[in-house]
C-alpha cells in the first residue's frame, strides 16, 4: 500500500487522471457504480422530501390560508406579495435581527467548545473517557423541561444562582431573562451549553481519522503542540470542520426551542426568532405568508452555507 499520507483534501477527491485509454471504460463503470449507490437514497428522498418541498414552495406564492387546506388549488397566485408582507412586518424584521445575533455569537462559541472538548478527550484523557463523553453530551439528551427549570433558576433575578454568585463579588446582576438587553445573550449561552456536545462527538469522529504518524514525525522535528495543532490537526479535520460549521449554522439559523420554552419571544420581542415567528404564523393559519417566511429563512441559510463552502474552499 502507498505511504500513509493523510492528504488534506478539501477538494472533491480529484487527483491525477488515469491513463487515457482506460478512461472511458473506467469512467462508465464509475458512473454506473455511482448511480447505483446513489439510487436508493435519491428515490426515497425525491418522493418523501423533494416533492413536498416543491409543493410548499409553490404555496408560498399563493394567498393560501388554513381555510384552503381541503381545496389547495382554490387559491390565488399572488407572486411576491407574501414575501413583501414578511419584509414589511416589523416583528419579522426583529426576529431576523435576533436570529442573526444568535448565530454570530452562538456558532463560534459552540464550535470552539465542541472542538476543545473533543481535543481534550481525544488526547488528554485516557481513562474515564466514556464518562466525560457522555457527560458532555448529556445536555443534548436532557429533556427540555428539566433544562428549562434549571436554567430559569440559574437566571432568576433575585435568588438565582448566577446573581447570587455575582453578589458575592459585589455585582448587582440584572434580570437576565426579563431585561431586553440581556435576554438574547442568556439564550445564546444556554444554546451553546445545550449543543456543544453534538459538535464534540462529530469532531471526535473526525479526529480519530487523523494519522498519529504525522504527529510523531512532526514532534521528532521539534514542532510544539500548538504548531502541530495548527499545521496538522486542523487541516486534517477540514471536511469535519466544514460539516460542523454548516450544520451548526443551519441549526442556529432555525433556533426555536430556547426562546419558545424560556421566554416565548419576549420581553417585547427581544428573543423572538425567525423560526418561532414562522411557527406562530403557521399556527394562525397564514400558510402563504408562513411559507414565504420559511423560504426567506432558507435563502439566508443557503447564502451563509455557500459562503462557508467557499471559505473552506470546498466545491
Amino acid at each position: 500500500m502507498s505511504a500513509p499520507i493523510a492528504t488534506p483534501t478539501g477538494a472533491d477527491g480529484r487527483t491525477a487522471r488515469p491513463e487515457p485509454r482506460r478512461r472511458s471504460r473506467r469512467g462508465a463503470a464509475e458512473a454506473r457504480a455511482g448511480i447505483l449507490l446513489a439510487l436508493p437514497f435519491v428515490l426515497l428522498f425525491a418522493v418523501f422530501t423533494a416533492w413536498p418541498v416543491l409543493q410548499s414552495m409553490v404555496m408560498s406564492f399563493t394567498d393560501m390560508r388554513i381555510s384552503d387546506i381541503r381545496t389547495p388549488f382554490a387559491v390565488d397566485f399572488v407572486g411576491l406579495e407574501n414575501y413583501r408582507t414578511a419584509f414589511a412586518d416589523p416583528v419579522f424584521r426583529r426576529a431576523a435581527l435576533n436570529t442573526g445575533v444568535f448565530v454570530l455569537l452562538g456558532v463560534p462559541l459552540t464550535i470552539t467548545a465542541g472542538l476543545g472538548a473533543a481535543l481534550a478527550l481525544n488526547q488528554g484523557v485516557g481513562r474515564l473517557r466514556s464518562v466525560f463523553r457522555i457527560g458532555f453530551y448529556s445536555p443534548v439528551i436532557t429533556s427540555i423541561v428539566a433544562v428549562a427549570v434549571v436554567w430559569r433558576f440559574l437566571l432568576q433575578p433575585g435568588t438565582g444562582l448566577v446573581n447570587t454568585v455575582l453578589g458575592w463579588v459585589g455585582i448587582d446582576g440584572p434580570h437576565w431573562l426579563g431585561d431586553q438587553r440581556t435576554a438574547l445573550l442568556s439564550l445564546v449561552v444556554m444554546a451553546v451549553w445545550r449543543n456543544f456536545g453534538t459538535s464534540m462527538i462529530i469532531f471526535l469522529a473526525g479526529l480519530q481519522a487523523v494519522d498519529p504518524g504525522l504527529h510523531e514525525a512532526a514532534a521528532l522535528d521539534g514542532a510544539g503542540r500548538w504548531r502541530r495543532f495548527v499545521s496538522i490537526t486542523l487541516p486534517s479535520i477540514r471536511p469535519t470542520m466544514l460539516f460542523v460549521l454548516v450544520t451548526t449554522s443551519i441549526g442556529y439559523l432555525q433556533f426555536f426551542e430556547e426562546p419558545f420554552v424560556m421566554t416565548n419571544g419576549g420581553p417585547l420581542n427581544a428573543t423572538v426568532s425567525a423560526s418561532m415567528y414562522t411557527y406562530n404564523q403557521f399556527g394562525f393559519g397564514n400558510y402563504g405568508v408562513a411559507g414565504a417566511m420559511a423560504y426567506l429563512t432558507f435563502l439566508v441559510i443557503g447564502l451563509v452555507t455557500l459562503v462557508q463552502f467557499r471559505l473552506m474552499r470546498e466545491k
Partner: protein
C-alpha cells in the same frame, strides 16, 4: 450514460420550473358566490339505538378517563363500538388541522373552546341538530359554540377565572371581606403590601402570551367589548376599553404588581406570602395546595372578579364536536347527547373534576359541596367566552404585544388600543 452530457443544471431547473408553474396555473379561487348565506340546518338524528363504530378523540386526562364514561353509553347501545384515542394537549391543534387537511378527522372529538370558529371556517364541524337540547348551558358556554348564529357541537365542561387570595394575610391587614369592585381590589393589594409584608399586592401578567385573558374580563366588566354584537368587526377603541386598560396599567405604575415577574413562581409566591393574590382557574387549587401542604386549604379563599358595572370573567373549557365527513352521524350525535345529560356530567365531574357546563349539573351535591366551587358557580353566570372569530388567536397575539408595551413601556392605553385596532383590521375576521 455519456460522461460528457451536461443536461444537468439547466434541464432540471427547467423541469422544476415547469412543474411549479403547472401547479400555480392550476390554482385560482372560484368566483365569489352569494355571500352571507346561513349554514344549512342540520338534519335530524335517526331514531333508535346507535349502531356501527365511532372514533373519538379526546385530549389529555379527559382522553384517558373518557372510556369510563362511555361504558354507560355502550350499555344502552350494545351494537355500537366506540374507539377512544387519547391525544396530548401539546400540539393537539396541529394534529387536528393536519387531520382535517388530509381527511382523517375522527367522528367525534373534544374541541378546544378557542378553536371552534376556526374549525367551522374550515367546514370541519357539523351544526347541532335540534334534538340536542341547548337551553340549560351557561350563557357564555353556549356563546362559545355559536358561530354566525348557528350552534356547532355542544359545550362539554367549563372553567372560569376568579381571584385567589390569602385569607390569613388579609385578616392581618385588617380586611375580612373580599372586595367586590375595582377600587376594593386595589385597596386589598395595597393593604397586603403595607400591612402584611408582601413584596407585591397581586400577581398580574404584564402583557405577553395569554394576558388578554386577564384583561378582557375587566373590559367586559366596564361594559366594553372588542367585537361588535354581530361579531363581524373589531371594536378595540372605545372609552370603556380604555378605562379598563388604564386600570390594569395602574397596578404596574403604582407598584402593586411586578412588571418583570420571573416565570413559574406563582404557586410558591402565593404560599410564601410574597405575592398573596392572583387570578386564575380551578386547577390552581390543587397546585397551591400541593405546594402549601397540609392545612393550606384553610389559608386561602377565592372571590369573583371585581365589578365595575358587572363582575365578568373569562370562560374556558372544552366543547364536543361532530366532524363533517363522519360516516356514522346518528351514533355520533347520540353519543354527544349522552354526554350532555346532567347525570353524566355529574359523573364526569366525579371522574375528572371538570366543571359541568349544564347549570343543572351544579345542583348535584358532589359538585355543590365545595364552598370554593360556589364562587366559580357564581362567576359562571356572568363569564363570557372570547370572541368567536376564526382569526382570534392572531388578533389576541397582537393585543398581548400591545398590552406588554402598556405595562412595561408606559404606552398610553389609547395608543395601544388604536394600534391593536389597526392590526386587527389588517388581519380581518377570516369570515
Amino acid at each position: 450514460m455519456s460522461l460528457t452530457a451536461r443536461p444537468t443544471r439547466r434541464t432540471v431547473a427547467g423541469l422544476g420550473a415547469a412543474a411549479a408553474l403547472g401547479l400555480l396555473a392550476a390554482c385560482g379561487r372560484p368566483d365569489e358566490t352569494s355571500g352571507g348565506e346561513d349554514a344549512a340546518p342540520a338534519e335530524p338524528i335517526a331514531e333508535g339505538p346507535a349502531t356501527g363504530s365511532l372514533t373519538v378523540w379526546a385530549m389529555g386526562a379527559e382522553g384517558e378517563k373518557l372510556p369510563e364514561l362511555i361504558k354507560g353509553f355502550q350499555e344502552q347501545n350494545p351494537d355500537v363500538t366506540v374507539e377512544v384515542t387519547p391525544v396530548p394537549w401539546d400540539s393537539a391543534h396541529d394534529k387536528f388541522t393536519s387531520a382535517i387537511a388530509a381527511g382523517t378527522a375522527p367522528d367525534v372529538a373534544q374541541v378546544g373552546s378557542t378553536w371552534m370558529a376556526e374549525f367551522v371556517g374550515l367546514d370541519a364541524l357539523e351544526p347541532t341538530p335540534e334534538e340536542v337540547a341547548t337551553d340549560d348551558y351557561f350563557a357564555g358556554a353556549l356563546e362559545s359554540v355559536t358561530v354566525d348564529g348557528t350552534v356547532y357541537g355542544v359545550p362539554w365542561y367549563v372553567e372560569t377565572r376568579v381571584v385567589f387570595y390569602r385569607t390569613d394575610l388579609a385578616e392581618k391587614a385588617g380586611i375580612s371581606e373580599p372586595p367586590t369592585d375595582w377600587d376594593g381590589l386595589v385597596a386589598l393589594a395595597q393593604a397586603y403590601q403595607e400591612q402584611a409584608d408582601a413584596d407585591w399586592g397581586i400577581s398580574l401578567q404584564p402583557g405577553g402570551t395569554g394576558s388578554w385573558q386577564t384583561l378582557m374580563p375587566l373590559i367586559w366588566s366596564g361594559g366594553g367589548n372588542v367585537v361588535d354584537e354581530a361579531g363581524t368587526a373589531f371594536t378595540f377603541e372605545s372609552a370603556q376599553n380604555e378605562e379598563a386598560l388604564a386600570y390594569y396599567q395602574s397596578y404596574f405604575t403604582d407598584g402593586l404588581a411586578n412588571p418583570a415577574p420571573a416565570d413559574g413562581t406563582t404557586e410558591q409566591d402565593f404560599v410564601s406570602g410574597k405575592v398573596p393574590m392572583f387570578i386564575s382557574g380551578p386547577w390552581m387549587m390543587s397546585a397551591v395546595e400541593a405546594v402549601g401542604g397540609e392545612g393550606f386549604a384553610d389559608k386561602y379563599g377565592v372571590f369573583t372578579m371585581p365589578a365595575k358595572e358587572t363582575s365578568s370573567s373569562f370562560l374556558g373549557g372544552a366543547n364536543l364536536g361532530v366532524f363533517q365527513g363522519t360516516e356514522n352521524r346518528d351514533a355520533a350525535w347520540k353519543l354527544v347527547q349522552h354526554l350532555s345529560t346532567p347525570e353524566v356530567q355529574v359523573e364526569w365531574f366525579g371522574l375528572s373534576t371538570d366543571l359541568p357546563s349544564l347549570q343543572q349539573g351544579w345542583e348535584d351535591e358532589t359538585v355543590a359541596s365545595n364552598e370554593k366551587f360556589e364562587v366559580f358557580r357564581t362567576q359562571l353566570d356572568t363569564a363570557l367566552a372570547p370572541p368567536v372569530v376564526a382569526t382570534w388567536e392572531q388578533v389576541a397575539a397582537s393585543f398581548d404585544a400591545q398590552i406588554e408595551e402598556v405595562c412595561k413601556n408606559d404606552l398610553s392605553p389609547a395608543d395601544a388600543l388604536a394600534a391593536t385596532q389597526s392590526e386587527a383590521q389588517g388581519i380581518g375576521t377570516g369570515a
